[in-house]
């Protein structure tokens, strides 16, 4: 190495591909897999059709691997064309299921519901959404921008305008809040 060698940028390391952020769409019939594949590829998603991992006991002989973080957006795309999957699981651990525990906090005039990493708070007297917090995907600030200040019944639904797993978690908090605030 020359005297000034330490000032030179270092060599780039070889990258190892990871499937930790990938999910699996399970369908009942192969025909649905083919339909979903063409719809998702046409929409520009990086997906691949493959055989199911041994942990998956349901569905047909083919599954689709997809970017898990974008589950909400992909699910909405498939629902629109009537190709909803039977099941969605993470590649890293196919037996994992979405969080189904809610934390409720009563602030007197306000009620907060937390689902996974997302929190939704409404003012009890008028059911206006006053705050959304938590989460780390870029649709969280967008969802907050679109929903805060609107009533629970009139605000856009996270399922409709969210795109990621954080959006999905907010949808669960939103549904739980709606249940809690129903007469």
């Amino acid at each position: 190495m020359s005297f000034l060698g330490f000032l030179k940028p270092k060599k780039r390391e070889k990258l190892v591909e990871s499937d930790q952020d990938r999910g699996i769409l399970v369908f009942e019939h192969t025909s649905e897999v083919i339909r979903a594949e063409s719809v998702l590829k046409a929409s520009g998603w990086k997906i691949r059709v493959m055989g199911p991992p041994p942990e998956i006991q349901s569905g047909c002989d083919l599954v689709i691997e997809f970017p898990l973080i974008e589950e909400l957006n992909i699910l909405r795309t498939l629902q629109k064309v009537g190709a909803s999957p039977l099941e969605i699981v993470p590649v890293s651990s196919p037996l994992l299921r979405p969080v189904d525990l809610f934390q409720i906090k009563d602030f007197d005039q306000y009620l907060m519901v937390r689902a996974a990493n997302m929190k939704l708070t409404v003012e009890k007297k008028n059911l206006n959404i006053v705050n959304i917090s938590g989460g780390g995907c870029p649709d969280v600030p967008y969802l907050a921008q679109e929903m805060v200040g609107k009533s629970l019944s009139k605000a856009p639904n996270p399922r409709e305008i969210g795109h990621t797993l954080c959006g999905y978690a907010l949808q669960l908090a939103y549904e739980e809040m709606t249940r809690k605030c129903s007469p």
Partner: protein, 291 residues
Amino acid sequence: MLAIVGTVPDQKFPLSTGKVSLKEDEIWIQGRRVHVNRGTPALLAAAVKTGEALGQSELFGYLIGDIGLGKGSRNLYEYLTENLGRSEFSAITFHYLQPDVDWHNRVLSAIKEMVKQPVLIADAGFMYAAKMSGQAAAYDLFTPDVGELAFLADETAPHPFYTRGFILQDEKRAPDLIKRAYAHKNASRFLLVKGKKDYLSDQDGIKATVDSPACEAMEAMGGTGDTLTGIVAALIESGMEISKAAIVAAKANRLAGYYARPTPATQVIEIIRQIPGALEEILEEKVAATK
């Protein structure tokens, strides 16, 4: 110089890089402005306010519009991969980006090309990607809340949404979750866990806790975690040791919240306005304590 990397909730906001300033309630970068509400703009605003209070130079921003579709984040990842290796930042904070392990790994690889390694801080989506990549230990500081801590503690979870039920996201279990996150190498050198009680820890265990002043309403407010990350990033940039910076930041964020007299409906800009006064008070206390 401190760099902050993140997104803004406007699809049309183009890739913008450069020095960041705060005017009223808006962040300015490359002649463009974005309203401070929550997310990366709130982190930037808190870092700018902290930097001003400490008499620091401006900070550098990498921002792009993304509403969760991921396209903006991927464009930003690509830009960082091509440019970070030649940069000379002393600290970099990564924030609201679409979690993408492959892109994360490329960005980390670009950072390793830098002549002098910066302090690496991650929160939000980029922290999720760092954990999923198995390279959490490459980072100096993560700033998770308790839901995110449960995700770090669950070695199988690809996202907080898929954290296993038996790993309760109960604040009382934070010490166990911290231990578990380190045991599975899913934690950074230091963890600053924000919650009813804030925990600073490293792999040897909990080093400090901060629980006052307590403003319960802050838990419901969007952006209070972002402000904490912004404050600690700017304190680290000032030369303060990470562990000291984390404790000062936790105290200052709480005190700023206290002075804002928040309700669960308060918006985070109210807290950001209180940061300089709160920080001054905490730093004065610290100086007095050493005399």
